[in-house]
């Protein structure tokens, strides 16, 4: 079972909402599928993300994968730890491996995301 306090995209990103602040990362399933993460490219603070638009890149030894924004909004923080410790994405995907914090532009966009049960069903289907 995936964490129940988060919402998810079909592209395997998660978002945690705290007022109008949204923290974004990739799911444990995504991290496992990628394998050892060795590089994460994140947007600069101040960049405005568009819901479901690509905002960065995560690379494992073998694969390159785009990151997609679960919600629109301005980036207020990009996880500085990932430059030196990209492996946090594998070891703590829902914690220290978070990627960006975004000032939520439109709270209603959250309704377009998957709830934990729907995301569980998605990964169970492979």
């Amino acid at each position: 079972m995936v964490p129940t306090d988060l919402r998810y995209t079909k592209e395997h990103e998660w978002v945690r909402l705290d007022g109008d602040l949204a923290t974004v990362g990739i799911t444990e399933y995504a991290a496992q599928q990628l394998g050892d993460v060795v590089f994460v490219e994140l947007p600069d603070v101040g960049r405005v993300l568009e819901q479901f638009g690509a905002f960065g890149v995560v690379e494992s030894v073998k694969a390159v994968s785009d990151l997609f924004a679960p919600v629109s909004g301005e980036v207020t923080e990009a996880n500085p730890s990932l430059a030196g410790q990209p492996e946090l994405v594998n070891s703590e995907p829902y914690g220290a491996g978070w990627m960006v914090k975004v000032r939520l532009a439109d709270a209603s966009q959250v309704d377009e995301l998957l709830d934990p049960a729907a995301y569980d069903a998605l990964i169970a289907a492979g």
Binding site: A30, Q33, V38, F39, V57, K62
Partner: protein, 371 residues
Amino acid sequence: MTDVLETPAHVTPLLDRHRALGAKIIEFGGWLMPLQYSGIVAEHRAVREHAGLFDLSHMGELFVEGPQAGEALAAALVSDPPALAVGRAHYSMICAPDGGILDDLIVYRLADERFLVVANAANAQIVSDALTERLAGYRAVLDDRSLATALCAVQGPESAAIVGPITDLDIGALRYYAIAEGHVAGIQALVARTGYTGEDGFEVFVDTARASELWDVLSAAGQSRGLVPAGLGARDTLRLEAGMPLYGNELDRSTNPFEANLGRVVKLDKAGDFVGRPALEKVAADGPARLLSGLIVRGRGIARHGHPVLEDGRRIGTVTSGTQSPTLGVPIAMAYVAPAAARPGTMLAVEIREQPVAAEVVPLPFYRRAR
């Protein structure tokens, strides 16, 4: 990120073993093979520090026999197999008449009149067909035993300590690039001291019917010495650190051996004609149009296959392989660049997602084991 497995022509005889170990399985060269078990980086480190066990049953095993086997191979390949002593091996290539590489190979001399040619899985049929054609007129026959032969490799500094106690062969006397016929845990085998990782190691060829038994005895023999199963993912990062080319990346039909810095493999001074000789003599005389080079990315980003290489904003080459080096901790790559830009120390750039990222030309290999 969904795994779509095409229906491959072949499946490793060890598929059950890999599934039981929780391996991620991929299609590679027309075969279902293990990509990784615990993870590419952990497997890579295990091979550098202790040992890894690889299933290489996808490789093509082509036996060439007959009174003129050596002579026929000398005419078919760029190397000079008759110069091999019995029990020794060398790296070779089979080229088209225009000098383009059809495959890179290891040629083992098993006896005066018996050779083993090991080809890449994806090219095994092409090599088999080309050899059949090129052997015509010689007193030599080709026996393609690719499907009847399984291959397991033990690679890493602990390899000799793992394989030595379970074979009737004198492992200490088996030199690098040598091969001997004997038994491993009672299973009839060809044991070669060759590999594709930059470490000491052994490749063990057995009948497909004995593959599972061989895998099990090697696993058990290595348990106390840190041996772990290692997949094709780690094999790729290990060979890249060791500066070894991969067919399909560094080598292909439109590349000649001199461009790949493998001119030493082409024996232009051997007696007799061989396929590709006139074209390769011309390249040797004129110099290659581009050169395979090592790059270390100095900026932020990982160079990957297909990325453009720039010098002062002008495109002068293309990345063939790239990854984050688990041993060195920096992004490494191999690339074809203009010969003038191939000198170590030259600062170039790799275009990664439309951004130029600084990269320095360095000598190959990136990693060399302490001997």
